[in-house]
Protein backbone atom coordinates (compact mmCIF):
# COMPACT_ATOMS: atom_id res chain seq x y z
CA UNK A 1 0.00 0.00 0.00
CA UNK A 2 2.87 2.47 -0.30
CA UNK A 3 1.72 5.88 -1.57
CA UNK A 4 -1.91 5.23 -0.64
CA UNK A 5 -3.75 7.94 1.25
CA UNK A 6 -6.29 7.44 4.02
CA UNK A 7 -8.39 10.41 5.12
CA UNK A 8 -9.51 10.30 8.77
CA UNK A 9 -12.43 12.58 9.67
CA UNK A 10 -13.55 13.35 13.22
CA UNK A 11 -14.69 16.69 14.62
CA UNK A 12 -13.67 15.89 18.17
CA UNK A 13 -10.02 16.77 18.71
CA UNK A 14 -9.10 14.36 21.50
CA UNK A 15 -10.87 11.41 19.92
CA UNK A 16 -9.24 12.19 16.56
CA UNK A 17 -5.76 12.45 18.08
CA UNK A 18 -6.07 9.16 19.96
CA UNK A 19 -7.35 7.27 16.93
CA UNK A 20 -4.69 8.73 14.62
CA UNK A 21 -1.91 7.85 17.06
CA UNK A 22 -3.14 4.28 17.32
CA UNK A 23 -3.68 4.00 13.57
CA UNK A 24 -0.15 5.24 12.88
CA UNK A 25 1.16 2.29 14.85
CA UNK A 26 -0.63 -0.04 12.41
CA UNK A 27 -0.49 1.95 9.20
CA UNK A 28 3.19 2.63 8.74
CA UNK A 29 3.20 2.55 4.95
CA UNK A 30 0.26 4.85 4.13
CA UNK A 31 -0.22 8.58 4.28
CA UNK A 32 -2.77 9.47 6.96
CA UNK A 33 -4.50 12.82 6.48
CA UNK A 34 -6.84 14.30 9.10
CA UNK A 35 -9.92 16.45 8.64
CA UNK A 36 -12.22 17.97 11.25
CA UNK A 37 -15.49 18.43 9.39
CA UNK A 38 -17.45 17.59 6.26
CA UNK A 39 -16.28 20.83 4.62
CA UNK A 40 -12.69 20.18 5.62
CA UNK A 41 -12.86 16.64 4.22
CA UNK A 42 -14.36 17.87 0.95
CA UNK A 43 -11.43 20.28 0.61
CA UNK A 44 -8.94 17.44 1.09
CA UNK A 45 -10.77 15.34 -1.50
CA UNK A 46 -10.64 18.27 -3.92
CA UNK A 47 -6.92 18.80 -3.45
CA UNK A 48 -5.50 15.25 -3.55
CA UNK A 49 -6.34 11.65 -4.46
CA UNK A 50 -7.68 9.66 -1.51
CA UNK A 51 -7.91 5.86 -1.45
CA UNK A 52 -10.03 5.41 1.65
CA UNK A 53 -12.07 7.68 3.93
CA UNK A 54 -12.59 6.75 7.59
CA UNK A 55 -15.19 8.95 9.23
CA UNK A 56 -17.12 9.47 12.44
CA UNK A 57 -20.89 9.48 11.95
CA UNK A 58 -21.60 12.77 13.72
CA UNK A 59 -19.63 15.61 12.16
CA UNK A 60 -19.95 19.31 13.08
CA UNK A 61 -21.57 20.21 9.76
CA UNK A 62 -23.25 16.95 8.69
CA UNK A 63 -22.83 13.21 8.96
CA UNK A 64 -20.28 10.65 7.85
CA UNK A 65 -22.85 9.35 5.36
CA UNK A 66 -23.15 12.82 3.80
CA UNK A 67 -19.40 12.61 3.34
CA UNK A 68 -19.60 9.07 1.93
CA UNK A 69 -22.20 10.25 -0.57
CA UNK A 70 -19.82 13.02 -1.65
CA UNK A 71 -16.99 10.47 -1.99
CA UNK A 72 -19.17 8.32 -4.26
CA UNK A 73 -19.58 11.35 -6.54
CA UNK A 74 -15.98 12.58 -6.68
CA UNK A 75 -13.96 9.38 -6.10
CA UNK A 76 -16.38 6.48 -6.60
CA UNK A 77 -13.75 3.75 -6.24
CA UNK A 78 -12.48 4.98 -2.86
CA UNK A 79 -13.31 2.99 0.25
CA UNK A 80 -15.63 4.49 2.87
CA UNK A 81 -15.59 3.26 6.47
CA UNK A 82 -17.84 4.54 9.24
CA UNK A 83 -15.90 4.30 12.50
CA UNK A 84 -18.18 5.37 15.29
CA UNK A 85 -19.63 4.59 18.69
CA UNK A 86 -23.06 5.53 17.38
CA UNK A 87 -25.50 2.62 17.58
CA UNK A 88 -26.22 1.39 14.02
CA UNK A 89 -29.94 1.68 14.76
CA UNK A 90 -29.46 5.45 15.29
CA UNK A 91 -27.73 5.95 11.95
CA UNK A 92 -30.09 7.57 9.50
CA UNK A 93 -29.71 6.00 6.06
CA UNK A 94 -32.97 7.25 4.52
CA UNK A 95 -31.23 9.68 2.17
CA UNK A 96 -28.10 7.61 1.57
CA UNK A 97 -29.51 4.13 0.93
CA UNK A 98 -27.36 3.61 -2.17
CA UNK A 99 -24.03 4.81 -0.78
CA UNK A 100 -22.78 1.51 0.78
CA UNK A 101 -19.97 1.76 3.34
CA UNK A 102 -18.03 -0.44 5.70
CA UNK A 103 -18.70 -0.04 9.42
CA UNK A 104 -16.47 -0.64 12.43
CA UNK A 105 -17.80 -0.17 15.95
CA UNK A 106 -15.55 2.26 17.82
CA UNK A 107 -14.84 1.27 21.41
CA UNK A 108 -15.36 -2.46 20.91
CA UNK A 109 -12.49 -4.82 21.83
CA UNK A 110 -9.68 -4.62 19.28
CA UNK A 111 -11.48 -1.87 17.39
CA UNK A 112 -8.40 -0.15 15.93
CA UNK A 113 -6.92 -3.44 14.78
CA UNK A 114 -10.27 -4.30 13.18
CA UNK A 115 -10.44 -0.85 11.59
CA UNK A 116 -6.98 -1.19 10.14
CA UNK A 117 -7.74 -4.68 8.83
CA UNK A 118 -10.82 -3.34 7.04
CA UNK A 119 -8.99 -0.27 5.68
CA UNK A 120 -5.93 -2.23 4.55
CA UNK A 121 -8.02 -4.84 2.73
CA UNK A 122 -10.32 -2.21 1.22
CA UNK A 123 -7.40 -0.23 -0.19
CA UNK A 124 -5.33 -3.18 -1.32
CA UNK A 125 -8.18 -5.15 -2.89
CA UNK A 126 -10.24 -2.10 -3.92
CA UNK A 127 -13.19 -3.99 -2.51
CA UNK A 128 -15.71 -1.15 -2.70
CA UNK A 129 -15.70 -0.67 -6.47
CA UNK A 130 -19.07 -1.08 -8.14
CA UNK A 131 -17.58 -3.35 -10.77
CA UNK A 132 -15.55 -6.59 -10.76
CA UNK A 133 -11.81 -6.31 -11.27
CA UNK A 134 -9.86 -8.54 -13.67
CA UNK A 135 -8.00 -11.30 -11.79
CA UNK A 136 -4.56 -9.84 -12.63
CA UNK A 137 -5.46 -6.21 -12.03
CA UNK A 138 -2.13 -5.09 -10.43
CA UNK A 139 -0.13 -6.76 -13.22
CA UNK A 140 -2.51 -5.30 -15.80
CA UNK A 141 -1.96 -1.77 -14.47
CA UNK A 142 1.82 -2.31 -14.40
CA UNK A 143 1.70 -3.47 -18.02
CA UNK A 144 -0.30 -0.42 -19.05
CA UNK A 145 2.13 1.90 -17.26
CA UNK A 146 5.08 0.30 -19.03
CA UNK A 147 3.88 1.28 -22.50
CA UNK A 148 5.10 4.44 -24.25
CA UNK A 149 1.69 5.75 -25.24
CA UNK A 150 2.44 9.43 -25.34
CA UNK A 151 4.15 9.63 -28.73
CA UNK A 152 2.34 11.33 -31.59
CA UNK A 153 3.44 8.62 -34.00
CA UNK A 154 1.83 5.84 -31.94
CA UNK A 155 -1.35 7.82 -31.49
CA UNK A 156 -1.53 8.62 -35.22
CA UNK A 157 -1.19 4.97 -36.22
CA UNK A 158 -3.82 3.80 -33.72
CA UNK A 159 -6.10 6.63 -34.84
CA UNK A 160 -6.04 5.23 -38.39
CA UNK A 161 -7.30 1.91 -37.05
CA UNK A 162 -10.02 3.71 -35.09
CA UNK A 163 -11.11 5.47 -38.30
CA UNK A 164 -11.06 2.16 -40.16
CA UNK A 165 -13.31 0.58 -37.50
CA UNK A 166 -15.83 3.41 -37.79
CA UNK A 167 -15.85 3.14 -41.58
CA UNK A 168 -16.25 -0.67 -41.63
CA UNK A 169 -19.13 -0.57 -39.15
CA UNK A 170 -20.62 2.59 -40.62
CA UNK A 171 -20.62 3.85 -37.02
CA UNK A 172 -20.62 7.54 -36.07
CA UNK A 173 -18.20 6.98 -33.18
CA UNK A 174 -15.23 4.75 -32.45
CA UNK A 175 -12.35 4.90 -29.99
CA UNK A 176 -9.37 3.13 -28.52
CA UNK A 177 -9.55 3.35 -24.76
CA UNK A 178 -7.06 2.80 -21.98
CA UNK A 179 -8.50 1.35 -18.77
CA UNK A 180 -6.56 2.99 -15.96
CA UNK A 181 -6.89 2.34 -12.23
CA UNK A 182 -9.92 4.54 -11.69
CA UNK A 183 -10.76 5.93 -15.12
CA UNK A 184 -11.21 5.19 -18.79
CA UNK A 185 -9.08 7.42 -21.00
CA UNK A 186 -9.73 7.86 -24.69
CA UNK A 187 -6.42 7.32 -26.49
CA UNK A 188 -7.87 8.00 -29.92
CA UNK A 189 -11.39 8.91 -31.00
CA UNK A 190 -13.31 9.01 -34.28
CA UNK A 191 -16.26 11.36 -34.59
CA UNK A 192 -16.01 12.70 -31.04
CA UNK A 193 -13.52 14.27 -28.65
CA UNK A 194 -14.26 12.68 -25.30
CA UNK A 195 -12.64 13.41 -21.95
CA UNK A 196 -11.92 10.62 -19.40
CA UNK A 197 -14.83 8.99 -17.59
CA UNK A 198 -15.00 7.18 -14.26
CA UNK A 199 -14.24 3.51 -14.70
CA UNK A 200 -17.56 2.49 -13.14
CA UNK A 201 -19.37 4.39 -15.92
CA UNK A 202 -17.55 2.57 -18.70
CA UNK A 203 -18.80 -0.51 -20.56
CA UNK A 204 -15.15 -1.33 -21.32
CA UNK A 205 -14.66 -1.98 -17.60
CA UNK A 206 -16.72 -5.12 -18.23
CA UNK A 207 -15.24 -5.86 -21.67
CA UNK A 208 -11.75 -6.38 -20.25
CA UNK A 209 -13.09 -9.05 -17.89
CA UNK A 210 -13.40 -11.34 -20.92
CA UNK A 211 -10.04 -10.51 -22.46
CA UNK A 212 -10.22 -12.66 -25.60
CA UNK A 213 -13.88 -12.11 -26.39
CA UNK A 214 -15.79 -9.36 -28.11
CA UNK A 215 -18.49 -7.66 -26.04
CA UNK A 216 -21.56 -6.64 -27.96
CA UNK A 217 -24.53 -4.72 -26.59
CA UNK A 218 -27.19 -4.17 -29.21
CA UNK A 219 -29.13 -1.75 -27.01
CA UNK A 220 -27.68 -0.46 -23.73
CA UNK A 221 -31.21 0.44 -22.59
CA UNK A 222 -32.02 -3.27 -22.78
CA UNK A 223 -29.06 -4.26 -20.60
CA UNK A 224 -29.89 -3.92 -16.87
CA UNK A 225 -26.23 -3.20 -16.11
CA UNK A 226 -26.25 0.01 -18.16
CA UNK A 227 -29.91 0.99 -18.60
CA UNK A 228 -29.62 3.75 -15.95
CA UNK A 229 -26.09 4.85 -16.86
CA UNK A 230 -26.36 8.62 -17.40
CA UNK A 231 -22.79 8.87 -18.60
CA UNK A 232 -23.63 6.68 -21.61
CA UNK A 233 -26.63 8.91 -22.33
CA UNK A 234 -24.40 11.96 -22.27
CA UNK A 235 -21.91 10.32 -24.63
CA UNK A 236 -24.75 9.33 -26.97
CA UNK A 237 -23.97 5.60 -26.75
CA UNK A 238 -26.94 3.33 -27.50
CA UNK A 239 -25.18 0.37 -29.13
CA UNK A 240 -21.68 -0.92 -28.36
CA UNK A 241 -19.13 -3.41 -29.63
CA UNK A 242 -15.70 -3.64 -28.02
CA UNK A 243 -12.66 -5.92 -28.07
CA UNK A 244 -9.77 -5.85 -25.61
CA UNK A 245 -6.20 -4.93 -26.49
CA UNK A 246 -4.40 -7.87 -24.91
CA UNK A 247 -0.64 -8.02 -24.25
CA UNK A 248 1.48 -11.08 -25.00
CA UNK A 249 1.10 -11.96 -21.33
CA UNK A 250 -2.69 -12.03 -21.66
CA UNK A 251 -3.28 -8.73 -19.85
CA UNK A 252 -6.02 -6.47 -21.24
CA UNK A 253 -4.76 -2.87 -21.16
CA UNK A 254 -7.51 -1.25 -23.19
CA UNK A 255 -10.20 -1.69 -25.82
CA UNK A 256 -11.10 -0.88 -29.40
CA UNK A 257 -14.77 0.06 -29.59
CA UNK A 258 -17.42 1.25 -32.00
CA UNK A 259 -20.61 2.97 -30.88
CA UNK A 260 -23.92 3.84 -32.41
CA UNK A 261 -26.55 6.29 -31.24
CA UNK A 262 -29.32 3.88 -32.22
CA UNK A 263 -29.83 0.20 -31.30
CA UNK A 264 -28.23 -2.12 -33.84
CA UNK A 265 -26.92 -5.65 -34.16
CA UNK A 266 -23.44 -6.95 -34.89
CA UNK A 267 -22.89 -10.15 -36.89
CA UNK A 268 -20.37 -12.91 -36.21
CA UNK A 269 -18.24 -11.48 -39.04
CA UNK A 270 -18.45 -8.06 -37.37
CA UNK A 271 -17.15 -9.51 -34.13
CA UNK A 272 -14.33 -11.34 -35.88
CA UNK A 273 -13.34 -8.17 -37.71
CA UNK A 274 -13.30 -6.13 -34.49
CA UNK A 275 -11.25 -8.82 -32.76
CA UNK A 276 -8.69 -8.72 -35.58
CA UNK A 277 -8.57 -4.93 -35.57
CA UNK A 278 -7.99 -4.87 -31.80
CA UNK A 279 -5.15 -7.38 -32.22
CA UNK A 280 -3.61 -5.18 -34.91
CA UNK A 281 -3.95 -2.13 -32.64
CA UNK A 282 -2.12 -4.02 -29.90
CA UNK A 283 0.63 -4.96 -32.37
CA UNK A 284 0.99 -1.32 -33.38
CA UNK A 285 1.32 -0.28 -29.74
CA UNK A 286 3.87 -3.08 -29.17
CA UNK A 287 5.94 -2.02 -32.18
CA UNK A 288 6.07 1.61 -31.05
CA UNK A 289 6.98 0.45 -27.56
CA UNK A 290 9.78 -1.77 -28.92
CA UNK A 291 11.10 1.05 -31.11
CA UNK A 292 11.12 3.50 -28.22
CA UNK A 293 13.02 1.05 -26.04
CA UNK A 294 15.49 -0.18 -28.64
CA UNK A 295 19.03 0.14 -27.28
CA UNK A 296 21.22 2.65 -29.15
CA UNK A 297 23.24 1.07 -31.95
CA UNK A 298 26.75 0.18 -30.88
CA UNK A 299 29.48 2.57 -31.97
CA UNK A 300 31.76 1.19 -34.69
CA UNK A 301 35.50 1.12 -33.98
CA UNK A 302 36.07 3.58 -36.83
CA UNK A 303 33.72 6.25 -35.64
CA UNK A 304 35.38 7.28 -32.42
CA UNK A 305 36.43 5.98 -29.05
CA UNK A 306 39.80 5.73 -27.41
CA UNK A 307 42.78 5.53 -29.62
CA UNK A 308 45.35 3.77 -27.57
Amino acid sequence: MPNDTVLYVDGEESSRAVALDRLREQARNVTLVAATSLADAREVLRSRPVDCVVTEYDLPDGTGLDLAEHVRNVAPDAGCVLYTETDPARIDTDETAGVVTEFVSKGSPGDVEELWRVVAFTVESRSQTAYPLPPDEPERLDALDAYELHTDACRADVKRLTDLAARYFDAPKASVNLIKKHSQEFFTCHGVDWTPTAREDSICTYTILEAGDVTVIDDVKDDPRFADNQSLDELGIRAYAGASLVTDDGLPIGTLCVYDDEPRSFSADDRAFLRTLADVAMSVVDLHHAAANRPPESTSPDSGGDES
Partner: protein, 220 residues
Protein backbone atom coordinates in the same frame (compact mmCIF):
# COMPACT_ATOMS: atom_id res chain seq x y z
CA UNK B 1 -3.84 -17.35 11.86
CA UNK B 2 -4.60 -20.41 13.99
CA UNK B 3 -5.01 -23.91 12.61
CA UNK B 4 -8.74 -23.75 13.36
CA UNK B 5 -9.11 -20.57 11.35
CA UNK B 6 -7.19 -21.98 8.37
CA UNK B 7 -9.07 -25.25 8.04
CA UNK B 8 -11.67 -25.62 5.27
CA UNK B 9 -15.39 -25.14 5.89
CA UNK B 10 -17.02 -28.58 5.82
CA UNK B 11 -20.54 -29.70 4.94
CA UNK B 12 -22.81 -32.67 5.49
CA UNK B 13 -21.97 -35.86 3.60
CA UNK B 14 -25.01 -35.48 1.34
CA UNK B 15 -23.73 -32.16 -0.07
CA UNK B 16 -21.24 -32.75 -2.90
CA UNK B 17 -18.72 -30.19 -1.66
CA UNK B 18 -15.58 -31.57 -0.05
CA UNK B 19 -14.68 -28.45 1.87
CA UNK B 20 -14.16 -24.82 1.02
CA UNK B 21 -11.18 -22.67 1.94
CA UNK B 22 -11.70 -19.77 4.39
CA UNK B 23 -12.28 -16.47 2.62
CA UNK B 24 -14.38 -18.04 -0.17
CA UNK B 25 -17.57 -16.49 -1.53
CA UNK B 26 -20.06 -18.75 -3.32
CA UNK B 27 -22.91 -17.72 -5.62
CA UNK B 28 -25.73 -20.27 -5.40
CA UNK B 29 -27.89 -19.94 -8.51
CA UNK B 30 -31.13 -21.81 -8.94
CA UNK B 31 -34.81 -21.18 -9.62
CA UNK B 32 -37.52 -21.20 -6.97
CA UNK B 33 -38.67 -24.73 -6.03
CA UNK B 34 -35.42 -26.24 -7.34
CA UNK B 35 -33.97 -26.73 -3.87
CA UNK B 36 -31.49 -23.85 -4.34
CA UNK B 37 -32.66 -22.05 -1.21
CA UNK B 38 -32.30 -25.20 0.90
CA UNK B 39 -28.82 -25.79 -0.50
CA UNK B 40 -27.81 -22.17 0.20
CA UNK B 41 -29.16 -22.44 3.75
CA UNK B 42 -27.46 -25.79 4.35
CA UNK B 43 -24.10 -24.38 3.27
CA UNK B 44 -24.41 -22.01 6.22
CA UNK B 45 -26.33 -24.02 8.84
CA UNK B 46 -23.96 -26.98 8.45
CA UNK B 47 -21.60 -24.81 10.51
CA UNK B 48 -23.90 -25.16 13.52
CA UNK B 49 -22.76 -28.59 14.62
CA UNK B 50 -19.16 -27.48 14.11
CA UNK B 51 -19.56 -24.61 16.56
CA UNK B 52 -19.09 -21.95 13.88
CA UNK B 53 -20.72 -18.53 13.82
CA UNK B 54 -23.43 -17.68 11.31
CA UNK B 55 -24.78 -14.40 9.99
CA UNK B 56 -27.91 -14.37 7.85
CA UNK B 57 -29.26 -11.55 5.71
CA UNK B 58 -32.86 -12.07 4.75
CA UNK B 59 -34.56 -9.92 2.15
CA UNK B 60 -37.72 -11.85 1.33
CA UNK B 61 -38.77 -13.66 4.54
CA UNK B 62 -38.85 -12.31 8.08
CA UNK B 63 -35.98 -13.17 10.38
CA UNK B 64 -38.34 -15.34 12.39
CA UNK B 65 -39.35 -17.41 9.35
CA UNK B 66 -35.76 -17.74 8.27
CA UNK B 67 -34.70 -18.99 11.70
CA UNK B 68 -37.61 -21.47 11.71
CA UNK B 69 -36.38 -22.79 8.39
CA UNK B 70 -32.82 -23.06 9.76
CA UNK B 71 -34.08 -24.85 12.86
CA UNK B 72 -35.79 -27.45 10.68
CA UNK B 73 -32.61 -27.94 8.66
CA UNK B 74 -30.22 -28.38 11.57
CA UNK B 75 -32.39 -29.11 14.58
CA UNK B 76 -32.00 -25.73 16.26
CA UNK B 77 -29.29 -23.08 16.16
CA UNK B 78 -28.31 -23.61 19.75
CA UNK B 79 -24.62 -24.29 19.70
CA UNK B 80 -23.39 -21.47 17.51
CA UNK B 81 -23.27 -17.74 17.64
CA UNK B 82 -25.58 -16.31 15.05
CA UNK B 83 -26.95 -12.99 13.88
CA UNK B 84 -29.73 -12.02 11.48
CA UNK B 85 -30.22 -8.86 9.45
CA UNK B 86 -33.93 -8.82 8.66
CA UNK B 87 -34.81 -6.47 5.78
CA UNK B 88 -38.48 -7.50 5.69
CA UNK B 89 -39.89 -6.52 9.07
CA UNK B 90 -40.82 -2.87 8.64
CA UNK B 91 -38.71 -1.13 11.23
CA UNK B 92 -35.07 -0.31 11.95
CA UNK B 93 -32.97 -1.52 14.89
CA UNK B 94 -33.27 -4.53 17.16
CA UNK B 95 -36.50 -6.48 16.81
CA UNK B 96 -36.91 -6.26 20.60
CA UNK B 97 -37.23 -9.99 21.24
CA UNK B 98 -33.83 -11.27 20.19
CA UNK B 99 -30.77 -9.02 20.25
CA UNK B 100 -29.16 -11.23 17.64
CA UNK B 101 -31.84 -10.16 15.15
CA UNK B 102 -31.62 -6.61 13.79
CA UNK B 103 -33.97 -5.10 11.26
CA UNK B 104 -33.51 -2.70 8.38
CA UNK B 105 -36.61 -0.97 7.08
CA UNK B 106 -36.26 -1.91 3.40
CA UNK B 107 -34.23 -4.17 1.10
CA UNK B 108 -33.47 -1.02 -0.91
CA UNK B 109 -31.43 0.41 1.99
CA UNK B 110 -28.14 -1.24 1.17
CA UNK B 111 -26.21 1.27 3.26
CA UNK B 112 -28.27 0.35 6.33
CA UNK B 113 -28.02 -3.37 5.61
CA UNK B 114 -24.26 -3.10 5.19
CA UNK B 115 -23.82 -1.21 8.46
CA UNK B 116 -25.98 -3.64 10.44
CA UNK B 117 -24.23 -6.59 8.82
CA UNK B 118 -20.75 -5.26 9.64
CA UNK B 119 -21.71 -4.66 13.27
CA UNK B 120 -23.12 -8.17 13.68
CA UNK B 121 -20.32 -9.80 11.72
CA UNK B 122 -17.67 -8.13 13.85
CA UNK B 123 -19.33 -9.45 17.03
CA UNK B 124 -20.01 -12.99 15.75
CA UNK B 125 -16.53 -13.25 14.23
CA UNK B 126 -15.00 -12.40 17.60
CA UNK B 127 -17.29 -14.65 19.65
CA UNK B 128 -17.11 -17.63 17.28
CA UNK B 129 -13.34 -17.79 17.24
CA UNK B 130 -13.06 -16.26 13.78
CA UNK B 131 -15.12 -18.97 12.04
CA UNK B 132 -18.18 -17.38 10.43
CA UNK B 133 -20.50 -18.43 7.63
CA UNK B 134 -22.62 -15.74 5.98
CA UNK B 135 -25.77 -16.33 3.95
CA UNK B 136 -27.67 -13.74 1.90
CA UNK B 137 -31.20 -14.77 0.81
CA UNK B 138 -31.56 -13.44 -1.76
CA UNK B 139 -29.79 -11.17 -4.22
CA UNK B 140 -32.81 -11.34 -6.53
CA UNK B 141 -34.80 -9.20 -4.07
CA UNK B 142 -32.00 -6.65 -3.76
CA UNK B 143 -31.81 -6.39 -7.56
CA UNK B 144 -35.55 -5.67 -7.65
CA UNK B 145 -35.25 -2.79 -5.19
CA UNK B 146 -31.85 -1.21 -5.89
CA UNK B 147 -29.80 -0.22 -8.92
CA UNK B 148 -27.48 -2.85 -10.35
CA UNK B 149 -24.42 -0.71 -9.62
CA UNK B 150 -25.39 -0.30 -5.96
CA UNK B 151 -25.99 -4.04 -5.55
CA UNK B 152 -22.64 -4.71 -7.21
CA UNK B 153 -20.82 -2.42 -4.77
CA UNK B 154 -22.71 -4.02 -1.88
CA UNK B 155 -21.77 -7.59 -2.89
CA UNK B 156 -18.17 -6.55 -3.51
CA UNK B 157 -17.92 -4.87 -0.09
CA UNK B 158 -19.60 -7.72 1.78
CA UNK B 159 -17.53 -10.34 0.00
CA UNK B 160 -14.41 -8.34 0.76
CA UNK B 161 -15.13 -8.40 4.51
CA UNK B 162 -15.72 -12.19 4.32
CA UNK B 163 -12.57 -12.74 2.23
CA UNK B 164 -10.33 -10.65 4.48
CA UNK B 165 -11.48 -12.37 7.68
CA UNK B 166 -11.48 -15.99 6.54
CA UNK B 167 -15.26 -16.35 6.50
CA UNK B 168 -17.49 -18.25 4.09
CA UNK B 169 -19.98 -16.27 2.00
CA UNK B 170 -23.09 -17.74 0.37
CA UNK B 171 -25.16 -15.51 -1.95
CA UNK B 172 -28.43 -16.91 -3.33
CA UNK B 173 -29.83 -15.74 -6.66
CA UNK B 174 -32.69 -16.94 -8.85
CA UNK B 175 -31.24 -16.72 -12.37
CA UNK B 176 -34.65 -17.08 -14.00
CA UNK B 177 -35.68 -13.67 -12.65
CA UNK B 178 -32.53 -11.88 -13.87
CA UNK B 179 -30.81 -11.09 -17.14
CA UNK B 180 -27.97 -13.62 -17.56
CA UNK B 181 -25.50 -10.73 -18.02
CA UNK B 182 -26.41 -9.54 -14.52
CA UNK B 183 -25.94 -13.02 -13.03
CA UNK B 184 -22.60 -13.46 -14.81
CA UNK B 185 -21.33 -10.10 -13.58
CA UNK B 186 -22.42 -10.77 -9.99
CA UNK B 187 -20.74 -14.19 -10.23
CA UNK B 188 -17.44 -12.42 -10.90
CA UNK B 189 -17.51 -10.97 -7.39
CA UNK B 190 -17.57 -14.54 -6.07
CA UNK B 191 -14.91 -17.23 -6.14
CA UNK B 192 -17.21 -20.00 -7.36
CA UNK B 193 -20.72 -20.62 -8.62
CA UNK B 194 -22.99 -23.43 -7.45
CA UNK B 195 -25.81 -24.07 -9.91
CA UNK B 196 -28.86 -25.93 -8.64
CA UNK B 197 -31.64 -27.55 -10.69
CA UNK B 198 -34.39 -30.08 -10.17
CA UNK B 199 -35.07 -31.91 -13.43
CA UNK B 200 -37.01 -34.92 -12.04
CA UNK B 201 -37.90 -34.17 -8.43
CA UNK B 202 -34.26 -34.72 -7.55
CA UNK B 203 -32.02 -31.78 -6.78
CA UNK B 204 -28.78 -31.60 -8.73
CA UNK B 205 -25.73 -29.42 -8.15
CA UNK B 206 -22.88 -28.24 -10.31
CA UNK B 207 -19.89 -26.43 -8.82
CA UNK B 208 -17.71 -24.22 -11.01
CA UNK B 209 -14.66 -22.29 -9.91
CA UNK B 210 -13.40 -24.39 -7.00
CA UNK B 211 -10.19 -26.37 -7.40
CA UNK B 212 -10.51 -30.11 -6.77
CA UNK B 213 -14.28 -30.07 -7.40
CA UNK B 214 -15.91 -31.79 -10.32
CA UNK B 215 -17.84 -29.49 -12.62
CA UNK B 216 -20.34 -32.23 -13.47
CA UNK B 217 -23.97 -32.18 -12.29
CA UNK B 218 -24.25 -34.28 -9.12
CA UNK B 219 -27.43 -35.53 -7.48
CA UNK B 220 -28.01 -34.29 -3.96
Amino acid sequence: MSQRVRKPYRFGDDLPLDGVQPGTNLLVAGPAMSGARQVALRLVTDGDERGEGMVFLTTNKTGEKLLDQCDRLCGGLSRSQYGVVDCVTDQHGSDGTDDRVVTVSSPSDLTGIGIEFSGLYQAVHRDADERVRVGLYSLSTLLMYAEFRTVSRFVHTLGGRIDSTGGLGVFLIDPTTQDERVVSTIAQFCDARVDVRQPDRTTELRVRGLDDHSQAWTTL
